[in-house]
Amino acid sequence: MEQNNVINVKNLTAGYGSHIVWQDANFSINKGEFVAVLGPNGAGKTTLFRLLLGLVKPISGQIELLGAYPKKGNAKIGYVPQRHPIDSETKIATVEFVRLGLDGDRWGISFSQEGTKQALEVLKVVGALELAYRPLGVLSGGELQRVFLAQALIGSPDLLLLDEPLANLDIRREGEFVKLIKSIVVSRNITVLLIAHNINPLLSVLDKVVYIANGKVAIGNSVDVLNSKTLSGLYDAPIEVLRDSYGRVAIVGAEENIHHHE
């Protein structure tokens, strides 16, 4: 059981200083699982990521990542943060940016070609090889998301943390990108946590849902979590979850009951 367990969380309370964002979370995530992290803005989804990245300590409770306490600079985690400001005038080539994911944290200068080689390989995997020598500044939103994913994948991580990677994509690109992520993580047996606002593009690929709202955390498969009873319990308010004939989900009432924990 220990080998299969990537993330293990017991009675975990998260927050900053004396301010609690969510409390008493209990869940585990196993190797290779595709997990969607959902919840309203300010609920504490990014906080969960920061805990896993070792950037923030829990207020109380236990958290285990790959069998150890989360530490900063874990080479086994690939991370794509939200809000990547890229200057539109920058001429720096994509491949130069991606290779930083491999050794950007090490001191000194490297003259080896290894970084470029691996960057090109990983750009090929995400289907962005033709962007390798284009300047970052001219890439579109969708192209940039592929590049960020490539940067996270370089160095062969075991865990991918993607913070709203679908945010600026239109519906068609959303679907394509989700398929791409799924194919990569399946072929490399990577565990993925993906923060999103809309569950629908992810329904066909996910194994588990972590739903964070109102200071509470629920986990399970999409049917167990995304139903009126569970979500009403989380929000302490009447929430209805509707499913259409394709199995697509609409959550009604959640927007009126947002409590911001910022």
């Binding site: 991370y79 794509v80 943060p81 990547h84 005038e89 930083l100 001191w107």
Partner: protein
């Protein structure tokens, strides 16, 4: 012209300053810290003026005040450092304060001039040695922090997640800017720091797809402008800083207008 001691010193110090300013300037532009760099040079002026007033080497005043300013800026954090209104207000006052210090000093006009605009032709042998040692230290420091600095400049959140100590790195880099500014003042002065620290790097940024190439181009422009400026001013007796600034400016304008020229060229080809 190199028979003259003062010209030799000018070339020596000027070259070293240009190299260091070109390297550090690349990251100043990349991190959008050019106003902060300019602000540090103003703080340095106050320190230098104060040092002159109490009779010690102005470089000491420069270094103390620029380093102090650097540490304060790093502590205030990224958001504060880009609040140009606040910085501008404090720095305008600093400049006025420095002016006040100098009025108490007998030879204030020449001192003020050389601090504000540089006096590359008045650099002594010992100043060259000091500049050399400082430049070597700065160069080694930049080589050591190159990769994490590049990473955190392009993608701070990712760099932080990968374990780069972004706060301390930012502080160290600010101090390196402070030291580089201090030695650059003797060449171009407080007000024209941009011409060595920012404009060559801004030009390079428009040209280079690889950061190493960008740094190389930035250094090349700064050094060429310094050499050419010194050469011309030997025969045409106008201030060296003017020539350096002018050359650097012309190169920048040319590179920025290049797409425009290319367009016209293609249109002419069609005809």
């Amino acid at each position: 012209m190199l028979q003259y001691g003062f010209m030799l010193h000018a070339f020596e110090a000027g070259t070293m300053v240009a190299i260091v300013a070109g390297i550090i300037g690349y990251f100043v532009v990349l991190r959008r810290s050019s106003f902060a760099a300019h602000a540090l040079s103003h703080a340095g002026f106050t320190g230098a003026a104060g040092a002159v007033l109490i009779g010690i080497n102005p470089l000491i005043g420069l270094l103390t005040f620029t380093s102090g300013g650097a540490i304060v800026m790093a502590l205030l954090g990224k958001k504060a450092a880009s609040r140009d209104v606040q910085i501008g207000t404090v720095l305008a006052f600093m400049l006025g304060l420095g002016l006040l210090f100098l009025t108490f000093y007998k030879g204030y006009a020449t001192e003020a001039y050389s601090l504000l605009f540089g006096e590359i032709l008045g650099i002594s042998q010992s100043a060259v040695i000091t500049t050399l040692i400082t430049a070597i230290i700065l160069f080694i420091a930049m080589v050591i922090i190159y990769r994490p600095l590049l990473f955190s400049s392009l993608d701070e959140d990712c760099a932080e997640a990968k374990g780069v100590p972004i706060f301390w790195l930012g502080m160290v880099f600010m101090i390196l800017i402070a030291i580089a500014t201090s030695i650059s003042v003797q060449v171009v002065g407080v007000l024209l720091i941009f011409s060595l620290m920012v404009t060559p790097a801004a030009t390079a940024e428009r040209l280079a797809s690889k950061p190493i190439y960008g740094i190389f181009i930035s250094v090349l422009i700064a050094v060429m402008a310094t050499w050419l400026g010194l050469f011309i001013s030997f025969y045409v007796p106008y201030p060296v800083s003017f020539f350096i600034t002018g050359i650097v400016f012309l190169i920048y304008i040319f590179v920025r207008l290049m797409p425009f020229f290319k367009n016209i060229y293609y249109k002419l080809l069609v005809i």
